[in-house]
Subunit: 207 residues, 2 copies
């Protein structure tokens, strides 16, 4: 009961590492077996298919994500402090894996691979974006954001800044990536805080 579960857990741990680095599709039965010093078929028996392995991998990562990123942020007072905590946790989560956030990697990996894995991933991503939305909502209620702030828009922009951080951090590793992300966050918070949006720039004024 627990014997096999321990084994399975360490397999998933290895899988997480590969998935974050090379992508969820690159998590191979053979490589995992080699890592765990066991036979392919022995390892395979734990999961019933590669598809299932990938889903369990996402599920496992999702539990860690909820525990280490979302939940602790919800323990922080609503509003801007909570948002800061969420971002900090996300970046820590991202830095804990060799190849960065597994969900970002998996998202580009599976965006055009229809099936159960993509379905599951999509559901996770929607839940994540919904968390962002709800946290923005609670920031309004806490009085940190202005009443008419667009929560969906905030979720988009915050996630975008994290994706920017992720690419800078994993591909180019410029030294001041974290500063860039922090500055972007400050600007974002500023924009959602003040009074109603400033006068328009008139995009089509000249054409």
């Amino acid at each position: 009961m627990t014997r096999g579960d321990d084994r399975k857990l360490s397999i998933l741990e290895n899988g997480l590492d590969i998935a974050s680095r090379l992508g969820l599709e690159a998590v191979t039965i053979g490589s995992l077996a080699k890592m765990a010093n066991m036979s392919k078929s022995g390892l395979f028996a734990h999961f019933q298919s590669k598809e299932n392995l990938q889903i369990e991998l996402l599920k496992y990562a999702g539990e860690i994500f909820s525990r280490d990123v979302v939940a602790p942020a919800l323990a922080v007072p609503a509003g801007i402090p909570r948002i800061r905590a969420l971002v900090e946790n996300w970046i820590r989560f991202s830095g804990a894996m060799t190849g960065g956030c597994i969900f970002v990697t998996a998202s580009t990996d599976f965006k055009d691979r229809p099936g159960k894995v993509k379905d599951f991933l999509l559901q996770q991503q929607n839940a994540w974006i919904d968390s962002l939305r709800r946290i923005a909502r609670s920031a309004i209620e806490a009085g940190d954001f202005r009443k008419d702030a667009d929560c969906d828009q905030f979720a988009f922009e915050l996630y975008a800044s994290l994706l920017g951080f992720h690419l800078y951090y994993t591909l180019l590793d410029s030294a001041d990536t974290q500063k860039r992300q922090q500055a972007a966050l400050e600007q974002l918070l500023r924009a959602y805080q003040g009074g109603p949006a400033p006068a328009d720039i008139s995009p089509g004024a000249g054409g």
Copy 2:
């Protein structure tokens, strides 16, 4: 001379489609051969290795990118109009391929695959970010951005918003993705336009 070049071009075209959808690593000699109705070895002869094929793919995509995204934007008056043009072109380029922008896909695909391909891709990405930086610089000189605007920071935030668009567009396909990106762009332009940055939010006021 031209006979083989035509063939090679259509092969690259197919490769671009696969790369944008499934990733640059998923561009397989066999699948390309099947697409082109020719033998694996016949196709392979055009390139001398898979690594080389991947690099030629990036190079080809880079030429298209320069021609269709960067160059036309530089023909638009410097400043905010040029920035708008660049973004429009980027989104059009991204939408022209089934799986979105090949560089975004390739970036997450090769971030942890050291070698010539990653080196080449990295150089392209740095060039792209440099373009963003220079366009911000010219916006300052045109008087559209404030004098002390941080061009590197602008490049980061603009690229981040595009990455956000890309994920929303390719994975989740929510209907209003383009509106989100546009709104983010407007907010970004507003932030770099006005006087010096507003008073701080005091990030650590409470801890």
